[in-house]
């Protein structure tokens, strides 16, 4: 198996899906000649032409609304929002339209479409190029929300998202694009939506994360091992539908759980994970459930001191994990 970056895995995933199925196409800002601002679609315009790699006007509602219509009429669009921070103009189309087509027609219509959005910080992206949007959209019934953290999962989940009959919000952490490398299986390796994965086995405590925080949690688990603390790391991979069984299983196994996310705290994904554990694994707990998140400020500031103060990092996760282990 070849070592690849996350961005390479995503590009390959799109390329293979477009080659496999002529109804798959890409629409977004700068995705054509430029190959996307992160080069996610580099080479696809030349390979598939202007009818399948469409440079959209600078209008996010247009990108999503047109994708919805195309999906109604037999296509499988991949709509790229250049930065997750700019998805707000499309929220009416995503929440009121895409998420409800199936329900409001009692299954007559469904929308096989993917909305790709680079998210997350640590790249000096400031208030409007660093946001986490998963909790906002995970709250909306009718949407699926995916947030892979490794190249293999990024490619495999992208393939699953393209083939899914429902709208999938596919979140790509920008910091992982070129930072995280890993082996990507050849062939048509689809990773199912809705399945978490234990990325490291452990017995003393559980770290639950997704996106960039997965990489940090794996680093922390390694450091904890050096201190004879055995940490299990569960990668959610899919935010919605969340893998309740995997969450409950790790909680029951270790009895101590720390949930980590880069999104702000209030009503975040950690709160939902903790509620699931309280409902289904309360008796197995040996410590209060803990979470490490960004604080409830509007977004990540530009200045590096403020950026670091906002984002959870390996040191902070390690500190919190030791507190949990000692409880």
């Amino acid at each position: 198996m070849a070592q690849k970056t996350v961005i390479e895995a995503i590009r390959e995933g799109m390329d293979e899906e477009m080659a496999r199925d002529p109804s798959v196409f890409l629409i977004g800002e700068d995705v054509g000649q430029r190959g996307g601002v992160f080069l996610a679609s580099d080479g696809l315009y030349k390979k598939y032409g202007e009818l399948r790699v469409i440079d959209s006007p600078l209008a996010e509602s247009c990108i999503v609304g047109v994708a919805i219509g195309a999906a109604v009429n037999g296509m499988r669009p991949i709509a790229e929002i250049q930065f997750a921070d700019f998805i707000a103009p499309a929220m009416n189309q995503i929440i009121e339209e895409a998420a409800r087509f199936c329900y409001r027609t009692a299954g007559d219509f469904s929308l096989p479409m993917v909305i790709r959005a680079p998210w997350g910080g640590g790249v000096h992206g400031a208030l409007y190029h660093s946001q986490s949007i998963e909790a906002t959209f995970a709250h909306i019934p009718g949407l699926k929300v995916v947030a892979p953290g490794t190249p293999a999962d990024a490619k495999g989940l992208l393939k699953a998202a393209v083939r899914d009959p429902d709208p999938v919000l596919f979140l790509e952490h920008k910091r992982t694009y070129r930072l995280v490398k890993g082996e990507v299986p050849g062939g048509d390796a689809v990773v199912p939506i809705g399945k978490a994965e234990v990325k490291r086995e452990g017995t003393d405590l559980s770290l639950i994360a997704y996106g960039l925080m997965l990489t940090y949690c794996l680093e922390v688990a390694e450091k904890l091992a050096a201190e004879d603390i055995s940490a299990e790391v569960l990668d959610l991979r899919t935010i919605k539908p969340i893998d309740q069984a995997a969450i409950v299983a790790t909680a029951k196994k270790t009895g101590k759980v720390l949930v980590v996310h880069e999104d702000t705290r209030f009503a975040g994904i950690a709160a939902e994970v903790m509620a699931i554990i309280m409902e289904q694994a309360f008796d197995a707990l040996d410590a209060p459930l803990m979470r490490l998140t960004a604080p409830d400020v509007p977004a990540m500031p530009f200045n590096h001191v403020l950026e670091q103060a906002f984002m959870p990092n390996a040191d902070r996760i390690l500190h919190k994990a030791k507190e949990l282990a000692a409880y």
Binding site: F25, C62, V66, Q93, C102, T105
Partner: protein, 345 residues
């Protein structure tokens, strides 16, 4: 590309429909669908006022713009993206009075939504009627997307997107027309300009008399047509369809018309419209006007009118009786089709 808004004048003559290529039977079929749309609507108001159903939203007064434009399309091959008043459009595209009444009573069998949506939120994949929600103008972008797919697959389907002049103030309206213009999509934007968005008159919605003038900004033609002249609506839409099928792109049609009823059964239009204004427009009723023409052209005779009335009344009676007695959804139906394969949480 500079384009100028065209204002279409109704041409006179006693064989207008024939000169437009419509047979007598086709001309009468248009009339019958207009009559059916009106009759279903009137029955819904009656039932609503008797307290037997909670909500109605009307097509009355706009049937000419609706059926005239839809009649230029090929039901089942072309697509329509209707808005909530477009009973005339969806009946032309194959929905029935029974379908409408099942929706009105929110029954389980309602083909639009299984009783989940308010009346007027049409949708049928089989009939190529796009599902609609309540936020306005969103469907214009969907129509552009449907037309994009037709272009990608090199199919000659045309998509007609319907909206009121209030919806034209939404950003999605601009974004849809802009995208359709760029890609020369086979979309026909049909604005049923009835002068009011609930209570707000056109003069508070836009600073121009003709919405169709905006088409120039998107690089395609804009046409103003008398929306209460069903044959004029047919004519301009047919031209737009031919243009679209030739690959020349979109057209914006602004059909000037009027809403006879309040916005909905929950609105009181006396708070913002003068009774005299409504009465004046009722004199221009598109159905009565078309009937007069059909009689003068000897297409509509007393026996034919009698047959049509009987058929329409029978459909409305049977639809009402069936739908009112049809079962409600069960509580279990609440949880189905959140996703194509059911519910996940």
């Amino acid at each position: 590309m500079a384009t100028k808004t065209r204002e279409v004048e109704a041409k006179g003559g006693q064989s207008r429909h024939r000169s437009l290529g419509l047979s007598d039977d086709q001309a009468l079929r248009i009339y019958e669908v207009m009559r059916l749309a009106r009759a279903v609507d009137e029955r819904m108001w009656l039932i609503n006022r008797q307290g037997r159903a909670p909500f109605v939203i009307s097509c009355q007064g706009q049937e000419g713009a609706q059926v005239g434009s839809a009649a230029a399309l090929r039901p089942g091959q072309d697509w329509v993206a209707p808005y909530y008043r477009d009973a005339g459009v969806i009946l032309w595209f194959g929905m029935t009075a029974k379908d409408q009444m099942l929706s009105f009573f929110a029954r389980r069998e309602d083909p639009n939504s299984g009783g989940r949506q308010m009346p007027g939120h049409f949708g049928s994949r089989r009939l190529h009627i796009l599902t609609g929600g309540s936020p306005v103008a969103t469907q214009l972008l969907h129509a552009a997307g449907i037309a994009l797919a037709s272009k990608q697959r090199k199919e000659d389907a045309v998509t007609a997107a319907y909206f009121g002049e209030g919806a034209a103030s939404q950003g999605d309206c601009h974004e849809a027309m802009n995208f359709a213009g760029i890609h020369k999509l086979a979309v026909i934007f049909v604005c049923e300009n009835n002068g009011y968005a609930i209570s707000v008159p056109q003069s508070r919605q836009m600073a121009i008399p003709n919405l169709a003038d905006r088409a120039a900004g998107y690089g395609f033609p804009g046409v103003v047509v008398d929306g209460n002249d069903v044959l004029a609506c047919y004519e301009v839409t047919r031209h737009a369809v031919e243009r679209a099928r030739r690959g020349e792109g979109a057209t914006l049609i602004e059909a000037k018309t009027y809403r006879f009823t309040a916005h909905s059964s929950d609105d009181d239009d006396k708070r913002y419209r003068q009774a005299e204004e409504v009465a004046t427009w009722r004199q221009k009723d598109p159905i009565q006007r078309y009937a007069k023409y059909l009689r003068e052209s000897a297409t509509l005779t007393d026996p034919v009118e009698k047959d049509i009335t009987e058929r329409v009344d029978q459909q409305v009676d049977e639809a009402t009786e069936y739908a009112e007695q049809a079962p409600d959804p069960t509580p279990d139906d609440l949880m189905t089709f959140v996703y194509k394969q059911g519910t996940v949480s």
